[in-house]
Protein backbone atom coordinates (compact mmCIF):
# COMPACT_ATOMS: atom_id res chain seq x y z
CA UNK A 1 0.00 0.00 0.00
CA UNK A 2 2.74 2.40 0.97
CA UNK A 3 4.44 1.64 -2.28
CA UNK A 4 1.32 2.50 -4.23
CA UNK A 5 0.91 5.79 -2.42
CA UNK A 6 4.55 6.62 -2.98
CA UNK A 7 4.24 5.72 -6.62
CA UNK A 8 1.05 7.72 -6.93
CA UNK A 9 2.56 10.79 -5.32
CA UNK A 10 5.56 10.44 -7.57
CA UNK A 11 3.24 10.32 -10.53
CA UNK A 12 1.33 13.42 -9.46
CA UNK A 13 4.59 15.24 -8.99
CA UNK A 14 5.67 14.21 -12.42
CA UNK A 15 2.43 14.98 -14.16
CA UNK A 16 1.81 18.38 -12.60
CA UNK A 17 5.17 20.02 -12.21
CA UNK A 18 3.49 23.43 -12.41
CA UNK A 19 1.29 22.71 -9.41
CA UNK A 20 3.85 23.83 -6.91
CA UNK A 21 4.05 27.27 -8.43
CA UNK A 22 0.34 27.21 -9.22
CA UNK A 23 -1.22 27.60 -12.61
CA UNK A 24 -4.58 27.89 -14.27
CA UNK A 25 -5.42 26.91 -17.85
CA UNK A 26 -8.20 28.88 -19.42
CA UNK A 27 -10.05 28.26 -22.68
CA UNK A 28 -11.50 31.62 -23.51
CA UNK A 29 -12.05 34.52 -25.86
CA UNK A 30 -9.25 36.77 -26.95
CA UNK A 31 -8.91 39.64 -24.51
CA UNK A 32 -10.33 37.77 -21.51
CA UNK A 33 -6.85 36.87 -20.34
CA UNK A 34 -5.04 39.86 -21.77
CA UNK A 35 -1.51 40.48 -20.48
CA UNK A 36 -2.52 44.07 -19.68
CA UNK A 37 -4.26 42.88 -16.53
CA UNK A 38 -3.28 39.21 -16.20
CA UNK A 39 0.34 40.21 -15.57
CA UNK A 40 -0.60 41.89 -12.31
CA UNK A 41 -2.70 38.90 -11.26
CA UNK A 42 0.15 36.46 -11.89
CA UNK A 43 2.49 38.58 -9.82
CA UNK A 44 0.13 38.93 -6.87
CA UNK A 45 -1.29 35.42 -6.79
CA UNK A 46 1.67 33.38 -7.93
CA UNK A 47 -0.63 31.60 -10.37
CA UNK A 48 0.59 31.28 -13.91
CA UNK A 49 -2.18 31.78 -16.48
CA UNK A 50 -2.09 29.73 -19.69
CA UNK A 51 -4.69 30.92 -22.15
CA UNK A 52 -6.00 29.13 -25.23
CA UNK A 53 -8.39 31.06 -27.42
CA UNK A 54 -11.60 30.03 -29.10
CA UNK A 55 -13.11 31.61 -32.20
CA UNK A 56 -16.67 30.65 -31.46
CA UNK A 57 -18.95 29.20 -28.81
CA UNK A 58 -19.02 26.06 -30.90
CA UNK A 59 -15.38 25.38 -30.02
CA UNK A 60 -15.93 24.67 -26.34
CA UNK A 61 -17.75 21.35 -26.58
CA UNK A 62 -15.48 19.70 -29.19
CA UNK A 63 -12.34 20.84 -27.31
CA UNK A 64 -13.57 19.44 -24.00
CA UNK A 65 -15.04 16.33 -25.58
CA UNK A 66 -11.75 15.18 -27.02
CA UNK A 67 -10.33 14.68 -23.56
CA UNK A 68 -10.40 16.47 -20.24
CA UNK A 69 -7.65 17.52 -17.92
CA UNK A 70 -6.32 20.25 -20.16
CA UNK A 71 -8.44 23.24 -19.22
CA UNK A 72 -9.54 24.49 -15.81
CA UNK A 73 -11.81 27.35 -16.80
CA UNK A 74 -13.96 28.14 -19.82
CA UNK A 75 -16.07 31.13 -20.84
CA UNK A 76 -19.01 30.10 -22.99
CA UNK A 77 -21.77 32.58 -23.76
CA UNK A 78 -25.18 32.33 -22.16
CA UNK A 79 -26.60 30.26 -25.05
CA UNK A 80 -23.91 27.59 -24.57
CA UNK A 81 -23.59 27.42 -20.77
CA UNK A 82 -26.54 25.04 -20.37
CA UNK A 83 -25.00 22.68 -22.93
CA UNK A 84 -21.81 22.56 -20.88
CA UNK A 85 -23.85 21.61 -17.80
CA UNK A 86 -25.83 19.01 -19.77
CA UNK A 87 -22.64 17.50 -21.14
CA UNK A 88 -21.30 17.21 -17.59
CA UNK A 89 -18.18 19.24 -18.36
CA UNK A 90 -18.48 21.74 -15.50
CA UNK A 91 -18.97 21.68 -11.74
CA UNK A 92 -21.05 23.83 -9.35
CA UNK A 93 -19.41 27.05 -8.17
CA UNK A 94 -18.59 27.88 -4.58
CA UNK A 95 -19.90 31.39 -4.89
CA UNK A 96 -18.89 32.36 -1.34
CA UNK A 97 -15.26 32.16 -2.48
CA UNK A 98 -15.86 34.98 -4.97
CA UNK A 99 -15.89 38.39 -3.35
CA UNK A 100 -17.75 40.42 -5.95
CA UNK A 101 -20.54 37.88 -6.47
CA UNK A 102 -23.38 39.84 -4.81
CA UNK A 103 -22.61 42.94 -6.84
CA UNK A 104 -23.43 41.28 -10.16
CA UNK A 105 -26.52 42.70 -11.91
CA UNK A 106 -29.50 40.71 -10.55
CA UNK A 107 -30.77 40.30 -14.12
CA UNK A 108 -27.77 38.14 -14.97
CA UNK A 109 -27.88 36.13 -11.75
CA UNK A 110 -31.47 35.34 -12.59
CA UNK A 111 -30.68 33.75 -15.95
CA UNK A 112 -31.47 30.04 -16.22
CA UNK A 113 -28.45 29.18 -18.34
CA UNK A 114 -25.93 29.47 -15.51
CA UNK A 115 -27.78 27.56 -12.79
CA UNK A 116 -29.15 24.08 -12.23
CA UNK A 117 -30.95 22.59 -9.23
CA UNK A 118 -30.17 25.52 -6.98
CA UNK A 119 -26.47 25.64 -7.85
CA UNK A 120 -24.64 28.21 -9.89
CA UNK A 121 -22.38 26.83 -12.62
CA UNK A 122 -21.41 30.08 -14.30
CA UNK A 123 -19.99 33.34 -13.01
CA UNK A 124 -21.19 36.25 -15.15
CA UNK A 125 -18.24 38.22 -16.50
CA UNK A 126 -19.04 40.57 -19.34
CA UNK A 127 -21.88 41.38 -21.66
CA UNK A 128 -22.87 43.34 -24.69
CA UNK A 129 -25.29 43.64 -27.56
CA UNK A 130 -25.22 42.28 -31.10
CA UNK A 131 -25.82 45.54 -32.86
CA UNK A 132 -25.81 46.57 -36.50
CA UNK A 133 -22.94 48.65 -37.79
CA UNK A 134 -22.40 50.76 -40.91
CA UNK A 135 -19.62 52.69 -42.56
CA UNK A 136 -20.37 56.39 -42.14
CA UNK A 137 -19.19 57.47 -45.59
CA UNK A 138 -21.51 55.01 -47.36
CA UNK A 139 -24.80 56.41 -46.05
CA UNK A 140 -26.46 59.79 -46.44
CA UNK A 141 -29.39 58.81 -44.25
CA UNK A 142 -28.31 56.47 -41.48
CA UNK A 143 -29.92 53.02 -41.54
CA UNK A 144 -32.27 52.27 -38.67
CA UNK A 145 -33.67 48.83 -39.34
CA UNK A 146 -32.71 45.21 -39.90
CA UNK A 147 -34.47 45.61 -43.26
CA UNK A 148 -31.45 47.65 -44.40
CA UNK A 149 -29.49 44.39 -44.52
CA UNK A 150 -31.92 43.41 -47.29
CA UNK A 151 -31.66 46.72 -49.15
CA UNK A 152 -30.99 45.94 -52.83
CA UNK A 153 -29.08 49.21 -53.27
CA UNK A 154 -26.41 47.74 -51.01
CA UNK A 155 -25.93 44.62 -53.13
CA UNK A 156 -22.49 43.12 -52.61
CA UNK A 157 -21.77 45.35 -49.63
CA UNK A 158 -23.57 43.46 -46.89
CA UNK A 159 -22.05 41.08 -44.37
CA UNK A 160 -23.62 38.86 -41.74
CA UNK A 161 -22.10 36.80 -38.93
CA UNK A 162 -21.59 33.19 -40.01
CA UNK A 163 -23.50 31.85 -37.04
CA UNK A 164 -26.92 30.46 -36.20
CA UNK A 165 -27.72 33.97 -34.92
CA UNK A 166 -28.40 34.93 -38.54
CA UNK A 167 -31.70 33.08 -38.03
CA UNK A 168 -32.47 35.47 -35.14
CA UNK A 169 -31.81 38.43 -37.42
CA UNK A 170 -33.93 37.11 -40.27
CA UNK A 171 -36.78 36.15 -37.95
CA UNK A 172 -36.97 39.69 -36.54
CA UNK A 173 -37.01 41.06 -40.04
CA UNK A 174 -40.03 38.82 -40.67
CA UNK A 175 -41.67 40.22 -37.55
CA UNK A 176 -41.13 37.09 -35.46
CA UNK A 177 -39.88 38.45 -32.15
CA UNK A 178 -39.83 35.14 -30.25
CA UNK A 179 -36.42 34.47 -31.74
CA UNK A 180 -35.36 31.75 -29.28
CA UNK A 181 -38.58 29.74 -29.51
CA UNK A 182 -39.26 29.84 -33.24
CA UNK A 183 -41.56 27.24 -34.71
CA UNK A 184 -40.50 25.15 -37.70
CA UNK A 185 -42.55 27.41 -39.98
CA UNK A 186 -40.94 30.54 -38.60
CA UNK A 187 -37.48 29.03 -39.05
CA UNK A 188 -38.36 28.07 -42.62
CA UNK A 189 -39.47 31.63 -43.27
CA UNK A 190 -36.26 33.00 -41.78
CA UNK A 191 -34.30 30.61 -43.94
CA UNK A 192 -36.13 31.86 -47.05
CA UNK A 193 -35.35 35.45 -46.11
CA UNK A 194 -31.66 34.59 -45.76
CA UNK A 195 -31.62 32.85 -49.13
CA UNK A 196 -33.25 35.94 -50.63
CA UNK A 197 -30.58 38.10 -49.01
CA UNK A 198 -27.72 35.94 -50.23
CA UNK A 199 -27.05 37.76 -53.54
CA UNK A 200 -26.54 40.96 -51.56
CA UNK A 201 -23.99 39.38 -49.21
CA UNK A 202 -20.34 39.91 -49.98
CA UNK A 203 -19.09 37.49 -47.37
CA UNK A 204 -20.34 35.94 -44.15
CA UNK A 205 -17.88 36.97 -41.47
CA UNK A 206 -16.53 34.28 -39.17
CA UNK A 207 -14.14 36.14 -36.88
CA UNK A 208 -13.96 39.66 -35.50
CA UNK A 209 -10.70 40.20 -37.34
CA UNK A 210 -12.27 39.15 -40.61
CA UNK A 211 -15.09 41.67 -40.25
CA UNK A 212 -12.57 44.42 -39.51
CA UNK A 213 -10.65 43.44 -42.65
CA UNK A 214 -13.83 43.50 -44.74
CA UNK A 215 -14.64 47.05 -43.65
CA UNK A 216 -11.04 48.15 -44.00
CA UNK A 217 -10.73 46.82 -47.54
CA UNK A 218 -13.96 48.55 -48.53
CA UNK A 219 -15.71 45.26 -49.21
CA UNK A 220 -18.71 45.83 -46.94
CA UNK A 221 -20.54 48.85 -45.56
CA UNK A 222 -23.18 47.28 -43.29
CA UNK A 223 -23.28 44.20 -41.07
CA UNK A 224 -24.05 42.99 -37.61
CA UNK A 225 -21.27 43.21 -35.05
CA UNK A 226 -20.32 42.64 -31.41
CA UNK A 227 -21.01 46.03 -29.87
CA UNK A 228 -17.86 47.87 -28.87
CA UNK A 229 -15.33 45.41 -30.24
CA UNK A 230 -14.96 45.61 -34.01
CA UNK A 231 -15.93 49.29 -34.07
CA UNK A 232 -13.08 50.20 -31.72
CA UNK A 233 -10.62 48.17 -33.80
CA UNK A 234 -11.84 50.02 -36.90
CA UNK A 235 -11.59 53.37 -35.13
CA UNK A 236 -7.91 52.62 -34.51
CA UNK A 237 -7.52 52.07 -38.26
CA UNK A 238 -9.11 55.44 -38.91
CA UNK A 239 -12.31 54.04 -40.41
CA UNK A 240 -15.47 55.70 -39.21
CA UNK A 241 -18.28 53.30 -38.42
CA UNK A 242 -21.40 53.71 -36.35
CA UNK A 243 -23.13 51.07 -34.28
CA UNK A 244 -26.88 51.15 -33.82
CA UNK A 245 -29.65 49.15 -32.24
CA UNK A 246 -32.15 48.50 -35.04
CA UNK A 247 -35.78 49.27 -34.40
CA UNK A 248 -36.43 45.51 -34.33
CA UNK A 249 -34.25 45.33 -31.23
CA UNK A 250 -30.86 43.74 -30.61
CA UNK A 251 -29.73 40.44 -29.20
CA UNK A 252 -27.68 40.53 -26.04
CA UNK A 253 -24.99 38.17 -24.93
CA UNK A 254 -23.34 37.51 -21.60
CA UNK A 255 -20.24 35.41 -21.05
CA UNK A 256 -19.67 33.42 -17.87
CA UNK A 257 -16.65 31.73 -16.35
CA UNK A 258 -17.25 28.06 -15.63
CA UNK A 259 -15.04 25.65 -13.71
CA UNK A 260 -14.25 22.42 -15.55
CA UNK A 261 -15.19 19.34 -13.54
CA UNK A 262 -12.49 17.93 -11.24
CA UNK A 263 -9.91 20.54 -12.03
CA UNK A 264 -6.67 19.94 -10.13
CA UNK A 265 -5.94 23.68 -10.07
CA UNK A 266 -8.93 24.71 -8.01
CA UNK A 267 -7.11 27.15 -5.78
CA UNK A 268 -5.70 29.18 -8.62
CA UNK A 269 -8.96 28.86 -10.52
CA UNK A 270 -10.89 30.55 -7.71
CA UNK A 271 -8.23 33.21 -7.25
CA UNK A 272 -8.61 33.86 -10.97
CA UNK A 273 -12.41 34.06 -10.77
CA UNK A 274 -12.18 36.43 -7.82
CA UNK A 275 -9.82 38.67 -9.76
CA UNK A 276 -11.97 38.65 -12.90
CA UNK A 277 -14.94 39.97 -10.96
CA UNK A 278 -12.85 42.64 -9.25
CA UNK A 279 -11.90 46.01 -10.67
CA UNK A 280 -8.82 44.50 -12.28
CA UNK A 281 -10.74 41.96 -14.36
CA UNK A 282 -13.87 43.99 -14.97
CA UNK A 283 -12.09 47.05 -16.27
CA UNK A 284 -9.49 44.84 -17.89
CA UNK A 285 -12.00 43.34 -20.29
CA UNK A 286 -13.81 46.66 -20.71
CA UNK A 287 -10.60 48.36 -21.78
CA UNK A 288 -9.32 45.57 -24.02
CA UNK A 289 -12.53 44.42 -25.72
CA UNK A 290 -14.90 47.32 -25.12
CA UNK A 291 -17.42 45.01 -23.47
CA UNK A 292 -19.61 46.01 -20.54
CA UNK A 293 -18.94 44.82 -17.00
CA UNK A 294 -21.31 42.66 -14.93
CA UNK A 295 -20.16 44.13 -11.63
CA UNK A 296 -21.31 47.75 -11.65
CA UNK A 297 -19.75 48.43 -8.25
CA UNK A 298 -16.28 47.52 -9.50
CA UNK A 299 -16.96 49.26 -12.81
CA UNK A 300 -17.90 52.51 -11.08
CA UNK A 301 -14.58 52.49 -9.22
CA UNK A 302 -12.31 51.82 -12.16
CA UNK A 303 -14.08 53.47 -15.12
CA UNK A 304 -14.22 57.11 -16.06
CA UNK A 305 -17.75 58.53 -15.90
CA UNK A 306 -17.77 58.69 -19.72
CA UNK A 307 -16.80 55.04 -20.12
CA UNK A 308 -19.29 54.03 -17.43
CA UNK A 309 -22.06 55.70 -19.41
CA UNK A 310 -20.87 54.56 -22.84
CA UNK A 311 -20.94 50.94 -21.71
CA UNK A 312 -24.50 51.38 -20.39
CA UNK A 313 -23.38 50.51 -16.87
CA UNK A 314 -25.67 53.21 -15.43
CA UNK A 315 -28.70 52.01 -17.32
CA UNK A 316 -30.25 48.67 -16.25
CA UNK A 317 -33.12 49.41 -18.63
CA UNK A 318 -30.70 48.97 -21.53
CA UNK A 319 -29.93 45.43 -20.36
CA UNK A 320 -33.66 44.77 -20.09
CA UNK A 321 -34.18 45.98 -23.66
CA UNK A 322 -31.81 43.34 -25.06
CA UNK A 323 -33.02 39.92 -26.15
CA UNK A 324 -30.50 37.96 -24.09
CA UNK A 325 -29.33 34.77 -25.81
CA UNK A 326 -30.99 31.64 -24.52
CA UNK A 327 -30.02 28.01 -24.86
CA UNK A 328 -31.99 26.42 -27.68
CA UNK A 329 -31.85 22.93 -26.18
CA UNK A 330 -33.20 20.31 -28.53
CA UNK A 331 -34.26 23.04 -30.98
CA UNK A 332 -30.59 23.82 -31.54
CA UNK A 333 -30.40 21.46 -34.49
CA UNK A 334 -33.36 23.05 -36.27
CA UNK A 335 -31.60 26.42 -36.13
CA UNK A 336 -28.13 25.25 -37.16
CA UNK A 337 -29.56 23.03 -39.87
CA UNK A 338 -31.51 25.94 -41.37
CA UNK A 339 -28.41 28.13 -41.32
CA UNK A 340 -26.26 25.39 -42.87
CA UNK A 341 -28.75 24.90 -45.65
CA UNK A 342 -28.64 28.63 -46.39
CA UNK A 343 -24.88 28.41 -46.70
CA UNK A 344 -25.14 25.30 -48.88
CA UNK A 345 -27.21 27.17 -51.49
Amino acid sequence: MKKIIAAASCLTMLSTPALAAGSVNVLTWEGYADPSFIGKFEEESGCKVNATYVGSNDDFAPKLMSGGGVYDLITPSIDTTALMIDLGFVEPLETDKIAGWKNIYPKFLGLDGIQRDGDYYGMPYSWGAIVLMYRDDAFQTPPTSIADLWNKDLAGKVSLWDDKSSIYVAARRNGDMNIYTLSDEQIAKAREALVEQKPLVRKYWATAGELVDLYKAGEVVISNSWAGYQSSLLAKEGIKVTEFVPKEGAEGWMDSWMVVKDTPNKECAYKFLDMQLSELGQCGVANVNGYSAVNPVAAKNCMSPEQFKALHQDDPAYIDSLMIWTALGDRFEAYTNAWNSVKAQ
Binding site: P62, L87, K198, R202, K203, Y204, A217, E219, S341, K343
Partner: protein, 288 residues
Protein backbone atom coordinates in the same frame (compact mmCIF):
# COMPACT_ATOMS: atom_id res chain seq x y z
CA UNK B 1 18.82 -18.99 -34.48
CA UNK B 2 20.49 -17.81 -37.60
CA UNK B 3 17.11 -17.73 -39.25
CA UNK B 4 15.79 -15.47 -36.50
CA UNK B 5 18.64 -13.07 -36.89
CA UNK B 6 18.00 -12.90 -40.57
CA UNK B 7 14.27 -12.36 -40.31
CA UNK B 8 14.47 -9.73 -37.57
CA UNK B 9 15.52 -6.85 -39.85
CA UNK B 10 12.88 -7.97 -42.28
CA UNK B 11 10.27 -7.89 -39.58
CA UNK B 12 11.30 -4.40 -38.53
CA UNK B 13 11.37 -3.11 -42.07
CA UNK B 14 7.95 -4.53 -42.72
CA UNK B 15 6.54 -4.07 -39.24
CA UNK B 16 7.06 -0.35 -38.83
CA UNK B 17 5.12 0.70 -41.92
CA UNK B 18 2.49 -1.89 -41.09
CA UNK B 19 2.13 -0.52 -37.57
CA UNK B 20 2.00 2.97 -39.00
CA UNK B 21 -0.78 2.04 -41.38
CA UNK B 22 -2.76 0.36 -38.62
CA UNK B 23 -2.36 3.12 -36.05
CA UNK B 24 -2.63 6.15 -38.28
CA UNK B 25 -4.97 4.93 -41.00
CA UNK B 26 -7.01 1.83 -40.25
CA UNK B 27 -7.85 2.64 -36.64
CA UNK B 28 -8.92 6.25 -37.35
CA UNK B 29 -10.96 5.11 -40.34
CA UNK B 30 -12.53 2.44 -38.17
CA UNK B 31 -13.45 5.02 -35.53
CA UNK B 32 -14.86 7.32 -38.20
CA UNK B 33 -16.86 4.45 -39.66
CA UNK B 34 -18.24 3.55 -36.22
CA UNK B 35 -19.27 7.12 -35.48
CA UNK B 36 -21.06 7.34 -38.81
CA UNK B 37 -23.67 4.84 -37.59
CA UNK B 38 -24.26 6.63 -34.30
CA UNK B 39 -27.12 9.00 -33.79
CA UNK B 40 -27.33 12.64 -32.73
CA UNK B 41 -29.14 13.09 -29.47
CA UNK B 42 -29.05 16.21 -27.29
CA UNK B 43 -26.69 17.16 -25.70
CA UNK B 44 -24.25 15.24 -27.91
CA UNK B 45 -24.72 11.86 -29.64
CA UNK B 46 -25.07 8.22 -28.67
CA UNK B 47 -23.97 4.80 -29.96
CA UNK B 48 -26.32 3.11 -32.39
CA UNK B 49 -26.31 1.16 -35.60
CA UNK B 50 -28.46 2.81 -38.21
CA UNK B 51 -28.07 4.29 -41.66
CA UNK B 52 -29.98 7.51 -40.98
CA UNK B 53 -26.90 9.70 -41.43
CA UNK B 54 -26.16 8.27 -44.86
CA UNK B 55 -29.81 8.46 -45.92
CA UNK B 56 -29.94 12.10 -44.82
CA UNK B 57 -26.83 12.91 -46.87
CA UNK B 58 -28.46 11.73 -50.04
CA UNK B 59 -31.99 12.97 -49.40
CA UNK B 60 -31.37 16.45 -48.00
CA UNK B 61 -30.51 18.54 -51.05
CA UNK B 62 -28.07 20.74 -49.12
CA UNK B 63 -25.44 17.99 -48.90
CA UNK B 64 -25.78 16.81 -52.48
CA UNK B 65 -25.59 20.42 -53.62
CA UNK B 66 -22.35 21.08 -51.74
CA UNK B 67 -20.90 17.78 -52.94
CA UNK B 68 -21.55 18.68 -56.57
CA UNK B 69 -20.09 22.13 -56.07
CA UNK B 70 -16.97 20.64 -54.50
CA UNK B 71 -16.57 18.17 -57.37
CA UNK B 72 -16.99 21.01 -59.86
CA UNK B 73 -14.45 23.28 -58.16
CA UNK B 74 -11.91 20.46 -57.79
CA UNK B 75 -12.30 19.49 -61.43
CA UNK B 76 -11.84 23.10 -62.52
CA UNK B 77 -8.72 23.39 -60.37
CA UNK B 78 -7.27 20.20 -61.88
CA UNK B 79 -8.11 21.36 -65.38
CA UNK B 80 -6.67 24.83 -64.89
CA UNK B 81 -3.52 23.39 -63.31
CA UNK B 82 -3.13 20.98 -66.23
CA UNK B 83 -3.60 23.67 -68.89
CA UNK B 84 -0.99 25.84 -67.22
CA UNK B 85 1.40 23.15 -66.11
CA UNK B 86 1.65 21.06 -69.26
CA UNK B 87 2.94 23.71 -71.69
CA UNK B 88 5.23 25.00 -68.98
CA UNK B 89 6.83 21.63 -68.20
CA UNK B 90 6.96 20.76 -71.91
CA UNK B 91 8.95 23.92 -72.47
CA UNK B 92 11.23 23.12 -69.54
CA UNK B 93 11.99 19.59 -70.64
CA UNK B 94 12.17 19.88 -74.43
CA UNK B 95 12.74 23.51 -75.34
CA UNK B 96 14.80 25.03 -72.58
CA UNK B 97 18.43 24.68 -73.60
CA UNK B 98 20.11 25.97 -70.48
CA UNK B 99 20.24 23.63 -67.54
CA UNK B 100 20.55 26.54 -65.07
CA UNK B 101 17.45 28.28 -66.42
CA UNK B 102 15.55 25.03 -66.34
CA UNK B 103 16.47 24.42 -62.70
CA UNK B 104 15.55 27.97 -61.75
CA UNK B 105 12.18 27.85 -63.47
CA UNK B 106 11.41 24.49 -61.94
CA UNK B 107 12.34 25.77 -58.50
CA UNK B 108 10.19 28.85 -59.04
CA UNK B 109 7.17 26.59 -59.29
CA UNK B 110 8.12 24.35 -56.39
CA UNK B 111 9.37 27.05 -54.01
CA UNK B 112 5.91 28.33 -52.95
CA UNK B 113 5.36 24.91 -51.38
CA UNK B 114 7.79 25.97 -48.68
CA UNK B 115 5.70 29.02 -47.82
CA UNK B 116 2.84 28.63 -45.39
CA UNK B 117 -0.35 27.55 -47.10
CA UNK B 118 -2.34 30.13 -45.18
CA UNK B 119 -0.05 32.92 -46.28
CA UNK B 120 -0.32 31.91 -49.93
CA UNK B 121 -4.11 31.89 -49.73
CA UNK B 122 -4.06 35.22 -47.93
CA UNK B 123 -1.97 36.83 -50.65
CA UNK B 124 -4.75 36.27 -53.16
CA UNK B 125 -7.06 38.29 -50.97
CA UNK B 126 -4.85 41.33 -51.35
CA UNK B 127 -4.51 40.73 -55.08
CA UNK B 128 -8.17 40.13 -55.93
CA UNK B 129 -9.87 42.50 -53.46
CA UNK B 130 -12.02 45.48 -54.38
CA UNK B 131 -9.17 47.78 -53.41
CA UNK B 132 -6.62 45.15 -54.33
CA UNK B 133 -3.64 45.00 -56.65
CA UNK B 134 -5.52 43.67 -59.66
CA UNK B 135 -8.16 46.38 -59.48
CA UNK B 136 -5.59 49.15 -59.05
CA UNK B 137 -3.70 47.82 -62.05
CA UNK B 138 -6.79 47.57 -64.27
CA UNK B 139 -7.78 51.09 -63.27
CA UNK B 140 -4.32 52.53 -63.88
CA UNK B 141 -4.21 51.15 -67.42
CA UNK B 142 -7.75 52.37 -68.02
CA UNK B 143 -9.51 49.05 -68.62
CA UNK B 144 -12.02 49.77 -65.88
CA UNK B 145 -12.95 53.08 -64.31
CA UNK B 146 -14.38 51.83 -61.02
CA UNK B 147 -12.99 49.08 -58.80
CA UNK B 148 -14.77 45.84 -59.50
CA UNK B 149 -15.84 43.33 -56.89
CA UNK B 150 -16.10 40.39 -59.29
CA UNK B 151 -12.66 38.97 -58.50
CA UNK B 152 -12.91 38.12 -54.82
CA UNK B 153 -15.32 36.17 -52.62
CA UNK B 154 -16.71 33.88 -55.27
CA UNK B 155 -15.98 30.54 -56.90
CA UNK B 156 -13.63 32.13 -59.42
CA UNK B 157 -11.40 33.34 -56.59
CA UNK B 158 -11.41 29.87 -55.06
CA UNK B 159 -10.37 28.22 -58.31
CA UNK B 160 -7.58 30.76 -58.86
CA UNK B 161 -6.27 30.40 -55.32
CA UNK B 162 -6.43 26.61 -55.25
CA UNK B 163 -4.83 26.37 -58.69
CA UNK B 164 -1.96 28.54 -57.54
CA UNK B 165 -1.52 26.54 -54.35
CA UNK B 166 -1.72 23.07 -55.85
CA UNK B 167 -0.11 23.56 -59.27
CA UNK B 168 3.27 22.21 -58.09
CA UNK B 169 1.56 18.86 -57.63
CA UNK B 170 0.68 18.91 -61.33
CA UNK B 171 4.08 20.15 -62.49
CA UNK B 172 6.15 17.59 -60.61
CA UNK B 173 4.64 14.34 -61.97
CA UNK B 174 4.33 15.70 -65.52
CA UNK B 175 7.95 16.87 -65.41
CA UNK B 176 9.07 13.42 -64.30
CA UNK B 177 6.97 11.74 -67.00
CA UNK B 178 8.23 14.01 -69.79
CA UNK B 179 11.84 13.70 -68.67
CA UNK B 180 11.63 9.93 -68.96
CA UNK B 181 10.65 10.06 -72.64
CA UNK B 182 13.78 9.29 -74.69
CA UNK B 183 14.40 12.13 -77.18
CA UNK B 184 15.17 9.62 -79.92
CA UNK B 185 11.50 8.63 -80.02
CA UNK B 186 10.56 12.07 -81.30
CA UNK B 187 13.49 11.96 -83.70
CA UNK B 188 12.38 8.56 -84.99
CA UNK B 189 8.89 9.90 -85.42
CA UNK B 190 10.09 12.86 -87.49
CA UNK B 191 12.41 10.58 -89.49
CA UNK B 192 9.33 8.62 -90.44
CA UNK B 193 7.84 11.82 -91.82
CA UNK B 194 5.42 12.65 -89.00
CA UNK B 195 5.01 16.36 -88.30
CA UNK B 196 5.80 17.86 -84.89
CA UNK B 197 2.12 18.30 -83.94
CA UNK B 198 1.30 14.69 -84.80
CA UNK B 199 4.43 13.53 -82.99
CA UNK B 200 3.25 15.38 -79.90
CA UNK B 201 -0.24 13.93 -80.08
CA UNK B 202 0.80 10.38 -80.89
CA UNK B 203 4.10 9.98 -79.03
CA UNK B 204 4.73 12.55 -76.31
CA UNK B 205 1.23 13.04 -74.96
CA UNK B 206 0.39 9.32 -74.56
CA UNK B 207 3.74 8.65 -72.96
CA UNK B 208 3.19 11.41 -70.42
CA UNK B 209 -0.30 10.16 -69.55
CA UNK B 210 0.78 8.54 -66.26
CA UNK B 211 2.18 11.90 -65.12
CA UNK B 212 -1.00 13.68 -66.14
CA UNK B 213 -3.12 11.12 -64.33
CA UNK B 214 -1.01 11.49 -61.19
CA UNK B 215 -1.20 15.29 -61.42
CA UNK B 216 -4.96 15.23 -61.87
CA UNK B 217 -5.39 12.89 -58.94
CA UNK B 218 -3.20 14.93 -56.61
CA UNK B 219 -4.67 18.33 -57.44
CA UNK B 220 -8.20 16.99 -57.47
CA UNK B 221 -7.98 15.23 -54.13
CA UNK B 222 -6.18 18.14 -52.47
CA UNK B 223 -8.80 20.66 -53.64
CA UNK B 224 -11.57 18.23 -52.77
CA UNK B 225 -10.57 18.29 -49.13
CA UNK B 226 -9.77 21.97 -48.84
CA UNK B 227 -11.61 24.26 -46.46
CA UNK B 228 -9.22 27.18 -46.07
CA UNK B 229 -9.82 28.66 -49.53
CA UNK B 230 -13.60 28.87 -49.11
CA UNK B 231 -13.02 30.44 -45.72
CA UNK B 232 -10.57 33.04 -46.98
CA UNK B 233 -11.53 33.87 -50.56
CA UNK B 234 -14.85 32.07 -51.11
CA UNK B 235 -18.09 34.01 -51.03
CA UNK B 236 -21.56 33.24 -49.76
CA UNK B 237 -21.89 30.59 -52.50
CA UNK B 238 -18.52 29.02 -51.73
CA UNK B 239 -19.33 26.39 -49.15
CA UNK B 240 -17.35 23.21 -49.84
CA UNK B 241 -17.77 19.74 -48.42
CA UNK B 242 -14.82 19.99 -46.03
CA UNK B 243 -16.31 23.14 -44.48
CA UNK B 244 -19.59 21.29 -43.97
CA UNK B 245 -17.73 18.49 -42.22
CA UNK B 246 -15.96 21.04 -40.02
CA UNK B 247 -19.35 22.54 -39.14
CA UNK B 248 -20.77 19.16 -38.22
CA UNK B 249 -17.87 18.43 -35.88
CA UNK B 250 -17.99 21.95 -34.43
CA UNK B 251 -21.06 24.16 -34.54
CA UNK B 252 -23.65 21.44 -35.08
CA UNK B 253 -21.99 19.02 -32.65
CA UNK B 254 -23.15 16.20 -34.90
CA UNK B 255 -20.09 13.96 -35.13
CA UNK B 256 -22.11 11.03 -36.57
CA UNK B 257 -23.24 13.07 -39.55
CA UNK B 258 -19.77 14.57 -39.97
CA UNK B 259 -18.28 11.08 -39.92
CA UNK B 260 -20.76 9.82 -42.51
CA UNK B 261 -19.83 12.75 -44.73
CA UNK B 262 -16.14 11.98 -44.27
CA UNK B 263 -16.70 8.36 -45.23
CA UNK B 264 -18.55 9.43 -48.39
CA UNK B 265 -15.67 11.76 -49.20
CA UNK B 266 -13.16 9.00 -48.56
CA UNK B 267 -14.99 6.66 -50.92
CA UNK B 268 -15.03 9.30 -53.66
CA UNK B 269 -11.30 9.93 -53.25
CA UNK B 270 -10.52 6.21 -53.30
CA UNK B 271 -12.61 5.80 -56.46
CA UNK B 272 -10.65 8.56 -58.14
CA UNK B 273 -7.31 7.13 -57.04
CA UNK B 274 -8.17 3.67 -58.37
CA UNK B 275 -9.48 5.19 -61.61
CA UNK B 276 -6.24 7.09 -62.11
CA UNK B 277 -4.31 3.94 -61.26
CA UNK B 278 -6.18 2.10 -64.00
CA UNK B 279 -5.48 4.87 -66.53
CA UNK B 280 -1.83 4.78 -65.62
CA UNK B 281 -1.64 1.01 -66.07
CA UNK B 282 -3.52 0.92 -69.34
CA UNK B 283 -1.37 3.70 -70.78
CA UNK B 284 1.72 1.77 -69.78
CA UNK B 285 0.58 -1.42 -71.48
CA UNK B 286 -0.69 0.57 -74.44
CA UNK B 287 2.71 2.28 -74.75
CA UNK B 288 4.77 -0.86 -75.10
Amino acid sequence: MTLDRRTLPGLIVLGIPLLWIVVFMLVPYGILMTYSFWVKSYPSFKPDFQFGNYILLFTDPQYVQVLWRTLKISLLVSLASFLLAYPFTYFLVFRCRWQAVRTWLYMAVIAPLWVSYLLRAYIWKTILGTEGILNSFLMSVGIISEPSDIFLYNQFAMVVTLTYIFIPFMVMPIYTALERIPPNLAEASSDLGVGPWQTFLRVTLPLSAPGIAAGFTLTFCLSFGDFIAPFLVGGPDGNLIASVIATQFGAALNWPLGSALSIVMLVIVLLIVSLSDRIEKSSRTGGT
